[in-house]
């Protein structure tokens, strides 16, 4: 990534960034001048007219108005803020009016990840890939609470609402990876609802579009699962080092007896994992909140199989699986 960022602003890598920054600096410098005058005079008066220790109480000057001065300090700020208003509004209109030739991507926010649907039919999670120098229209909605799509380096932000579409757009001017934040508080995983905007060249984008339909050919099921673990954002809530996060850790999970929140218990097998992915509210592990969204429609059967294979591979003690010949058969069948 480049380093054109300044003390105040991150690098600006979209078509509107320089306009936004221009106004930002105009206000900043005007503010510094006004602030210096106000505080300079305050300091000067405070020193010049300070009460001496030996002073006898006395009458002071009765000056209490000066019409010319008051008109001056009303009019000048008024003119300045009107400039700021018009300037801000002009750029805002550019941010609001979507170019006709924009490439449209559907954005879905939900606790606590982003998913993106492309016109060609592909889907990606937590990573939106876009071509450089092309306006991208984002048609956004949320499956649960309000989120907000925020990419600082593009100076773009728009709330993502449930039951209503919101629209914004941007045009990236530089190839690279940029952080996508959720800017509207959405609960426990808010600060981990972070995605990536990958800006690539036109050729790379075409290649990537083709690969999007990739279903793990040439990969072992286990490796494909490991890839999905990251790309489909399971990693946000499920750790593999045994540490507790929003959801139970995945290592040494398979074959384990888990206590459920309704007091019963269950052995973690293929069917339980599949059910937990597609209908996560049904059986909650005791000690965790019922917060996982359903992946129905996001994950294909093959991908679920891959994730199950990956969870199995996270077993330190594999003997358990091998001993259970029945389960071994099950997993073979899936493969």
């Amino acid at each position: 990534m480049d380093t054109t960022g300044t003390f105040w602003m991150p690098p600006g890598n979209s078509t509107i960034a320089s306009e936004v920054d221009g106004l930002f600096y105009f206000i900043l410098y005007a503010s510094i001048i006004i602030f210096t005058i106000v505080i300079g005079l305050t300091t000067y008066f405070s020193i010049k007219y300070r009460r001496r220790a030996d002073a006898v109480a006395h009458k002071t000057d009765g000056l209490d108005h000066n019409l010319k001065l008051e008109i001056f300090w009303t009019a000048v700020p008024l003119i300045l803020v009107m400039i700021v208003f018009v300037w801000g509004f002009k750029t805002y209109m550019k941010i609001s009016v979507i170019p006709k030739d924009a490439y449209e991507i559907k954005v879905t926010g939900q606790k606590w990840f982003w998913s993106f649907d492309y016109p060609e039919g592909g889907n990606s999670v937590n990573e939106i890939v876009v071509p450089v120098n092309k306006p991208i229209k984002l048609l956004m909605d949320s499956k649960d609470v309000i989120h907000s799509f925020f990419v600082p380096e593009f100076r773009v932000k728009m709330d993502v609402l449930p039951n209503r579409y919101s629209i914004t757009w941007f045009e990236a001017t530089k190839v690279g990876d940029y952080t996508l934040y959720c800017a509207e508080f959405c609960g426990k995983g808010h600060s981990e609802m972070i995605g990536k905007v990958r800006v690539v060249t036109e050729e790379e984008f075409e290649k990537w579009s083709e690969d999007l339909a990739f279903s793990g050919e040439g990969m072992t099921l286990e490796d494909f699962g490991a890839k999905l673990y990251v790309s489909k954002a399971c990693i946000t809530c499920h750790k593999i080092d045994g540490s507790n996060s929003t959801g139970p850790p995945w290592n040494n999970l398979f074959g384990k007896e888990e206590k459920l929140s309704d007091g019963t218990s269950i052995i973690v097998d293929e069917n339980y994992i599949r059910e937990s992915i597609l209908n996560p509210m049904k059986k909650i592990t005791a000690g965790y909140q019922p917060v996982m969204p359903t992946f129905q429609g996001i994950l294909k059967d093959k991908q679920i199989d891959a994730l199950i294979a990956y969870i199995k591979s996270l077993q330190e003690d594999k003997s358990f699986i091998k001993d259970e010949s029945l389960q071994e058969d099950e997993s073979l069948k899936n493969e």
């Binding site: 602030f35 109480a57 801000g88 941010i95 609470v145 600082p152 039951n163 508080f185 808010h190």
Partner: protein, 538 residues
């Protein structure tokens, strides 16, 4: 050497019961002082705890759920239990009737009732703390707030009840100002503190019911399941934001106008100088009160509201900036040819001018549509808000507390310690919050428990600043409490000021005035009248 008066409002009646059933506006002010300062302490504890957690980018000692509860409780307690009531209920109650030469407020029993209502509201808030906490942020945005499992109902019910307390106080002040001014006190001879309180009271009475309705609808939606804001039930979450900010933007002025009102008193009393632009300041208070009702949409530039609405709200927002700017220029001009004493209240006044100017100017960034799109919901907002609310209101409140402390208790605090404490708070505050402007502009979103390593130095520095501030506050608690026991008696008029409250004993007698005072000079006629300080003349 000054002597304490033999009988005054503090010792005229004795026993807990005499306090809990008092209808004396001064004693009610003290009841508010104790309860509100308690919640200021609780809210401050949460602030220190959550800044500590943010020392490192990863989890330090609490998980995300706990962090979310901490910032929610910090915000909700500070806003609803501290900053909204602080100045009107403590200093307004204590000083306003004396300033206009009245023996009490218009409805003394209603005044006591407002304190009990405050305590009931506070109990609900405390209950939600014990019953699992709240994790919605102080704004309670739907649909998150209608779906989270935490105890949202009790805290919103608390805020709902606190609204009534606010309305009772406001109503009382409006009638008091209209009806109980002493002979000779025309509208334009009223101290500007009274003007500020009057404008605040108007907003309280007009805006608080809207918050009440909104929070009630929220509770109805959660309890009965009627879809008002929750899209899953056919409601509209953005409607909630409109309702909420229709109250909460004017509420920002409920918080800052009293602060401005105090500054007008302190800057004149400690420079013995006539206020510059009395009418401009008085009218701008009313102007701000009016304009505050028509700018709420500037909190929602990224919410998907129509572009036309955004444009109108941005335009109107800049008009609120002008009266605030005029006030600052007037205060600076007041210092010209004054006799400026660097007392603790004056130091707070100067700190206010510094911090509030930054708070006000950074508001211009946020009113500009295109820039706000980038800065909205980042730490820039957090910093701006704290510069206005803490740098403005809280600093003015602390200054006012030091200004009127000798009147309330009849005793002086240790000035040296008070100045050190003021300095620590000023430095600590800038350390804590100036860094947040930079982080915010760089893209650090607010309400994040975990954050990018790149922001670490800023967050760490901000946390160190919060410690400096905390030390300043602890020092203040120490010398203020100590002053009650061995502070030197202040005499009637330690600052040599001209308003009515300084002409009676400190602490004031039970009924303020033996005979109704006649107002024969303006509150700031330092060019005509000389009042000697009871501190230096002895």
């Amino acid at each position: 050497m000054n002597k304490m008066p033999e009988t005054h409002y503090l010792n005229c009646k004795k026993g807990i019961k005499s306090w809990l059933t008092t209808v004396d506006h001064k004693r009610i002010g003290i009841l508010y002082l104790l309860s509100i300062m308690f919640f200021f302490f609780v809210g401050g504890m949460f602030a220190v705890l959550l800044r500590l957690e943010l020392l490192t980018p990863d989890k330090l000692y609490i998980d995300s759920d706990m962090y979310n509860q901490f910032f929610t409780l910090h915000g909700a307690i500070m806003i609803f239990l501290f900053i909204i009531p602080a100045i009107p209920a403590i200093l307004g109650n204590f000083i306003l009737p004396i300033m206009i030469g009245a023996k009490d407020v218009a409805f003394p029993r209603l005044n006591l009732a407002s304190w009990y209502i405050y305590m009931v509201g506070a109990l609900f808030a405390v209950f939600s703390l014990v019953a699992g906490g709240v994790d919605t942020g102080w704004t309670f945005y739907t649909p998150y707030s209608t779906t989270t499992s935490t105890s949202v109902i009790s805290i919103t019910l608390g805020a709902f009840i606190l609204g009534f307390s606010s309305i009772c106080t406001g109503l009382n002040f409006i009638v008091t100002v209209h009806k109980l001014r002493s002979p000779g006190m025309t509208w334009f001879k009223m101290p500007l503190f009274v003007w500020g309180m009057y404008a605040t009271a108007l907003i309280q009475v007009l805006a608080a019911p809207v918050l009440g309705i909104t929070l009630l609808l929220l509770i109805i939606e959660r309890v009965v399941g009627i879809g008002i804001f929750d899209p899953a039930m056919g409601g509209d979450p953005v409607l909630y934001q409109h309702f909420f900010w229709f109250y909460s933007h004017p509420a920002v002025y409920i918080m800052i106008l009293p602060g401005m009102a105090i500054i007008s008193e302190m800057i004149t009393a400690h420079s013995h100088k006539k206020i510059f632009g009395y009418k401009a300041i008085a009218y701008s208070s009313l102007g701000i009160a009016f304009a505050s009702f028509i700018v709420w949409g500037h909190h929602m530039f990224t919410s998907g509201q129509s572009e036309l609405a955004a444009m109108i709200f941005s335009f109107l927002t800049f008009f609120v900036a002008i009266p605030s700017g005029i006030k600052v220029f007037n205060w600076v001009a007041t210092l010209y040819k004054g006799s400026i004493a660097f007392t603790t209240p004056m130091l707070y006044t100067l700190a206010f001018l510094f911090l509030f100017s930054i708070g006000g100017l950074t508001g211009i960034f946020l009113g500009a549509l295109s820039v706000d799109i980038h800065l909205h919901d980042t730490y820039f907002i957090v910093a701006h808000f704290h510069y206005v609310m803490v740098g403005g209101t809280v600093i003015a409140f602390l200054g006012g507390l030091h200004h009127w402390w000798p009147k309330m208790w009849g005793r002086m605090y240790n000035e040296t310690l008070a100045k050190i404490s003021c300095g620590l708070i000023f430095v600590g505050f800038n350390m804590t919050f100036f860094t947040q402007f930079i982080m915010g502009a760089q893209g650090m979103p607010r309400r994040y428990h975990l954050y990018d390593e790149a922001f670490r130095p800023f967050h760490a520095f901000s946390t160190y600043g919060s410690w400096v501030m905390a030390v300043g506050f602890c020092l203040m608690a120490y010398y203020l409490i100590r002053s009650l026991y061995n502070g030197k008696p202040a005499g009637n008029n330690p600052w040599g000021a001209l308003t009515h409250e300084w002409q009676i004993t400190s602490p004031p007698p039970e009924h303020n005035f033996e005979t109704i005072p006649i107002t024969d000079h303006g509150p700031y006629d330092y060019d005509k009248v000389v009042a000697k300080s009871t501190l230096t003349e002895n």
